[in-house]
Amino acid sequence: MRVGAGLRAFYGEIESLGKQLQAVLQGSAGEVVRERLSMLQKQQTQIAVIGQIKAGKSSFVNALTQMPGLLPTDVNPWTAAVTRLHFGDPETPQKGALFTFFERDEWQRLAEGGDRYKTLIERLVPDYDEGVARSQLAEMRRRAELRLGPHYRNLFGQTRWYADVTPEILERYVCLGLPPGEPVSEQAAGRFADIVKSADLFFGEGPFAFPATVIDTPGTNDPLLVLDEVTLSAIEDADVFVVVLTAQQPLTAADLALLRILHGLRKERVIIFINRLDDVSEPAAAYRTILTGVDELLRREFPAAQIPIVIGSALWAGAALRIGHADPGMIWDAGLIGYARGTGVMRPGESSFVSGPSTLPPGRVSEILFACSGLPEMMAHISELMLKGVSGQALGELGSTLIAAAESSMASARNELLGASSLSALSTRDGGLSDVRLGVAEDVERLRLLEIEANRYLQGVDKEVERLALESLHPLRETLQREISAFAREQAAILRASLRQGQSARMWRCDVASLRNRIEEKVLQAFWAAGRRFVEAQRQIGGVLRRVLREAAPDLGIDLQPASLLSYNLTPPLTALSRPLMFDLEEKWWQVWWLRQAAADEKARKIEEMILAEFFPVADELAMAAQSGLRGLISTALQPFLIRCQSVVNVVREREQQLLVEQAGDSLKAREREERVKEVFARLKESERLSAALGASLKRHGMLTDAR
C-alpha cells in the first residue's frame, strides 16, 4: 500500500484533463491553465507528527516511512530538533541530509526567552523568586561549550551536508544525548543538539505515492507551553497532523492542550495514534476501553470535529518491517498474541506464545505484526487527509478553474456556431443585404458599448469582491474588545460581590475559558458572515454582467453562479487564543498575587485591568489573522468566477468581431464556413466532455464543486 495513492490518482486525472483542455482552449484562458498546471509540480503534502515526550513519535515516523531504525530512539527523551523527511520531491536531491544550525541571535533569543512559563510568572508576580527562574541561557551555554568546545559560537548560521543519511550521523545532530558531565567525543550522540535548528533528510519516493514531507518533532508535555516557537513554526503549514498518544496514559491535560492548539490551526486534519499498545499488559482486554475513553473525551471537547483514532504500536510495525533481518524475539509475547486473536488478525490455534513465532512462516509473522500495529489504518487515514490537505485543495481549485475554462470555451464555441448559422441564413436571403449591413453596424456599436461596460465592471472586480467581503470583518476588533471589556467588568463585579460577602479572594477564580469560547464564537461568526458577503458581492457584480450577457448574447447559457467558500476549510486562524496567559497559571502563583493586593476594590480593579491587558493583544492578533486568512482564501476561491466573468466579455467581443467581419463583406465562403463550423462544433463537444469529466473527477475525490 502506498500512502497518498488517492491524491496521486486525482493529480493524474486533473493533470491529464488539464492538458487536454489546454489543447482546446484559445487565447488567454490557455495561458492561465498552462500556468496553473505548471504550479502543480510544486505540490507536496506535509505530515507533522507531534505529541508528548516518549509517546513514540520517532518510532512512528520510522514505521510510517518504512525505514525501521532510521530516526534514533531511546528509552529517554531523545529527539531534540525538528526533523523533516522529504520524499519524492522533484526539486530536491533524492538522497542526503542537511543540518541547519541556529543563527547566533536566534539561539540567544531562544535561550533567553525559552522559558515562557517564567515570563508569565514574572508578569503576574514581579520579582517573586522561588527557584523557578532556571537560568536557561547559562545552562545552554555551559552545555554547548562542553559538547562543542569553546569555539561553538563559530558554528552559528552554518549548515552541514551529508550525502548519506545514517543513524549515527542523525544521533549526533538531532538527539538530546546524555546529560553532559564532561567534554564529549566528536562522534557522541547529541553533540550538536543544542545548536541544530532543523534537519532535512532527502529520499526518493519511498512509501509515498505523492511527494510528501514527514516532520518529526521534539516531545512536548507542559500543558501551559505545549509547543515551543520552533516546533510551532515548523508545523504551522502542515496538511496532516498525527498526534501520538500512549496507551498507558491516553489524552492527558497536556495532550488536550495540544489538540486545542491544533483546533486553532486546522482541526479537520488531525489523526490520533494511540501508540505503545505493547506496553499495556493485556492489550486484548484494554484496547476497546482506551479507544472509547479517548473518543468520549474528544467528543466532549470538540463536538464538531471528527477525529479518527487508531490504536496500535510502532514497535510492532518496526518488528514487522525487520522480519527477515531480525528476530521479533521478545516482541512476540502473550499480550500481542492475545490482541491478534482478539481482533481477528490471527486465527485460533495458529500459533501460541510458548511455541514462539518460529512455527509460522516469516511472511505471516510480519503480516500479523503489521496488522496489529495500526499502521495500515494510519496509512489509509493519512491518504484520505492528504486529499483534504493543501495539495488536494489546490487540485480541487484547479479542477474548478478548469471547469470554468471549459465552460467558457463551450460558450465561445456556441457563440461562434450561433453567429455562423445566423450569417449563413443572411447570405442565402435574396436582396436587402444593404439593409442587413446597416442593422449590423448598429449591432456592432451596441456590442462595443456593452463590451466597454462589461470591461469596466470587470476591472478590479476581484479587489471589489475582496473589499466587500473584508468589510464585514472590520468591526471584528471592536466587537472582541467590547466582549473582553464586558467580561472584565463582569468578573470584577463578581469578585467585589464575593469579597463583600466575606469570602476569601482566593476562592475566586477567573473563568477565562468562557471568555475564550465567547471570543472564538465571535470570530467564527464574523468569518462566516464574511463568507456569505463574498457570495453576495459576486451576485451584485454578476448582475451587471448578466444584463450585458442578456443583451449581447441572449441565446447563450453562460452560468454566472458565484463561487462560494464552502468547499474550503472555513476556519479562521485561532492560534492566538491558545497562547498561555497569566490566568492559566496555577493557583499557587495567584495566591502570591492575592497576598500582595491591598483593598478589595483595588483587587477587583486590578483584575479588570489585567483581563484587558492580557486579552486585548489577543483580540488584535485574531482580527488581523482573520483578515489575512480571508484574503488568502478569496484570492484562490474567486478564480472560477473570474474566468466565467471574463468569458462574458470574450463572448461580447467575439460577437462584435464576427459582425465586423460580416460588415466588411469579407464573409467566408460557404465551404470554408462549413469547415469552420465543424471545427468549432468539435471544440464544443470536446469542451463539454472535459467539463463533465472534470466534474466527475472532483466528485469522485470528494471535492465539493461549485461548478454545478
Binding site: N76, A253, E587
Partner: protein, 457 residues
C-alpha cells in the same frame, strides 16, 4: 482479617509505632507524666494531650501522581494488597476525592467535610456535604504504623490537579510520586510537584513505575541516570518499580503463571531458567528485582526523617506549653502549684500500685514519695507563708514512714492491701485542700512539679 503476606519477611516491613520508637517513646512518657501534674481540664493539659496524640498518630503516606501512573498498585502494596482496600479505593475515583486509609477494628467508610466533620457516605450516593476526603477504616495491622492517602489522578483533563494536590498535601507526612517509567518526569508533573510545600518534597520518593515495560537491561540505568540528573534535587530518593512482580512476590498461592509480570528483558532469562529447573524464582529475589524492596527501604528512610521531624516539633511544642504552664504557676497561685505536685505524685503512686505486688519495696516507695512531697513541694511553698511551725504541722500529715504503712496493710491480701493504700491516698487528698485553706495570699517563686520542669527544659 487474614494478612496473607505476614509470613513473608520483606512485606511484613513495619515502621515502629511512636511508642516503640527509641526517641519518641521517652518523649511520650514525659508528656504523660507532665499531663499528670496538671488539672485534666486545664488548657495546658489539653495541649500536651494533643501533642501526644499527634505524635502517636501514624504518619500519612500520600500516593500521588498523574492519572494512570500506577498509583493504585503502589497504594495496594502499602495496604498489603488488601482486596477490601482495593474495592474501597474505587470510591476515590468515583468521587474524585482523596481516600485516607486508617486503622479500625471493623471496616468502615465515611466522608470528611472541609471543617473536619464526618458523615455517612454510601458508594454511588451524592455526598451529604461537600467532600474533602474519604476516610476508610480497615482492620489492617500495617495501618497501625502508617496511614495511606490515595489521591485520584491529576492531569486528568476532567480534574483540577493542582487544587486536589494542594488539598492532599495538607494531610500528608510524605509522598510517593508515581510516574510512568517510559515517560518519566514530564513537564506537567514537574509543575504539579513544584506547587507542593518544600517540607513535603524534600522527604518524598519518586517511584518510576512500569520497570517491567523496559525492553533492554541497559534501559534501567539510562532512565535512572536521567532521573537522577533531572529529578534528584526534588526528591529524597528515586526508585524504579515493577508492580506486577511486587504483587507476585507477596502472593502465598503459587499456582499462577509468573511470567506475565516480568520485565521484558528478564523474560527470556527467567523463561529459560524455568525450563531448566522448572521452579520459580524465589519470592525474595522477585521482591528485590521488582524494586519494591528498594521502595520500602526508601520509605523507611523517609519515615525515619518524618518521625525525627515530628518528634522535634512535638518536643518544641511541649516545651512551650510546659514553660507557659510553669509561668502561670509562678505567677502566684501556690494552691495550683501544690495541686500540680500532688497530682504528679498520686498519678505516679497509683501507677505503681497497679503494677507490682504490695511488698516492702512498694511501701518504701510510697513512704518516700509522700515525704518527698512534704519536704520538696509543701515545705518550700508553704514555709515562707505560714512559718515553720504551721508548715511542719501540715507536713506532718504526709510523713508516714514505711513502717506505718506496713502496719496499715498488715494481714491483708494483695487486693485489700492495695485498697488500703488507695484509701490512705484518698484521705490525704481530702485533707490537703483543708490544710491549704489556711493559706493567705502568697507571692514569690514557687518551684513547679518536676515532670513539668523536665518537659520545659
Amino acid at each position: 482479617m487474614p494478612d496473607n503476606a505476614q509470613d513473608f519477611a520483606p512485606i511484613s516491613w513495619k515502621w515502629p509505632q511512636a511508642e516503640q520508637h527509641p526517641a519518641s517513646g521517652p518523649l511520650l512518657a514525659r508528656l504523660r507524666s507532665a499531663q499528670g501534674c496538671l488539672a485534666p481540664a486545664s488548657p495546658a493539659a489539653r495541649a500536651l494531650r494533643r501533642i501526644g496524640d499527634r505524635l502517636l498518630r501514624p504518619p500519612v503516606i500520600a500516593v500521588l501522581g498523574e492519572s494512570r501512573t500506577g498509583k493504585t498498585s503502589i497504594a495496594g502494596l502499602l495496604l498489603r494488597n488488601s482486596p477490601q482496600a482495593a474495592s474501597l479505593n474505587k470510591m476515590s475515583s468515583l468521587y474524585l476525592a482523596p481516600i485516607l486509609f486508617r486503622h479500625g477494628e471493623r471496616e468502615a467508610v465515611c466522608g470528611v467535610a472541609g471543617d473536619g466533620g464526618r458523615f455517612a457516605l454510601e458508594a454511588g450516593e451524592v455526598p451529604a456535604r461537600p467532600l474533602r476526603y474519604i476516610e476508610a477504616r480497615l482492620p489492617l495491622d500495617c495501618l497501625h504504623h502508617y496511614e495511606v492517602l490515595d489521591v485520584p489522578g491529576m492531569a486528568d483533563p476532567a480534574r483540577d490537579g493542582a487544587q486536589l494536590l494542594s488539598a492532599a498535601a495538607q494531610y500528608a507526612s510524605l509522598a510517593v510520586w508515581c510516574t510512568v517509567v517510559t515517560q518519566a518526569w514530564k513537564g506537567s508533573e514537574q509543575r504539579l510537584w513544584r506547587s507542593l510545600p518544600p517540607r513535603l518534597r524534600k522527604i518524598s520518593v519518586l517511584a518510576a513505575i512500569g520497570k517491567d515495560c523496559l525492553r533492554h537491561e541497559s534501559d534501567e540505568g539510562k532512565v535512572l541516570a536521567r532521573l537522577e540528573h533531572e529529578a534528584a534535587p526534588h526528591f529524597r530518593s528515586i526508585v524504579l518499580v515493577s508492580s506486577p512482580q511486587a504483587r507476585e512476590a507477596c502472593k502465598t498461592e503459587r499456582d499462577e503463571p509468573l511470567l506475565e509480570g516480568l520485565p521484558r528483558y528478564l523474560f527470556r532469562l527467567v523463561a529459560a531458567q524455568k525450563d531448566r529447573t522448572s521452579s520459580r524464582p524465589g519470592r525474595d529475589e522477585l521482591w528485590k528485582v521488582s524494586g519494591a524492596q528498594e521502595l520500602f527501604a526508601a520509605l523507611s528512610g523517609a519515615l525515619e526523617t518524618v518521625q525525627a521531624n515530628r518528634q522535634q516539633s512535638a518536643a518544641g511544642a511541649a516545651r512551650r506549653v510546659a514553660r507557659r504552664a510553669i509561668k502561670s504557676i509562678n505567677a502566684g497561685d501556690p494552691a495550683a502549684a501544690i495541686a500540680c505536685a500532688w497530682n504528679a505524685l498520686t498519678n505516679e503512686l497509683a501507677g505503681t500500685l497497679g503494677q507490682t505486688a504490695v511488698d516492702d519495696a512498694l511501701l518504701a516507695r510510697f513512704a518516700e514519695g509522700l515525704s518527698d512531697f512534704a519536704s520538696n513541694s509543701l515545705h518550700p511553698i508553704l514555709g515562707p507563708v505560714l512559718g515553720e511551725r504551721d508548715c511542719a504541722e501540715i507536713g506532718g500529715l504526709f510523713r508516714c514512714g514505711a513502717g506505718d504503712l506496713a502496719e496499715a496493710a498488715a494481714g491483708l491480701g494483695a487486693h485489700a492491701a492495695r485498697q488500703q493504700l488507695r484509701a490512705i491516698l484518698a484521705q490525704l487528698q481530702e485533707e490537703l485542700p483543708e490544710a491549704l485553706g489556711r493559706l493567705p495570699g502568697m507571692s514569690g517563686q514557687i518551684p513547679a512539679s518536676q515532670p513539668l520542669s523536665e518537659l520545659a527544659m
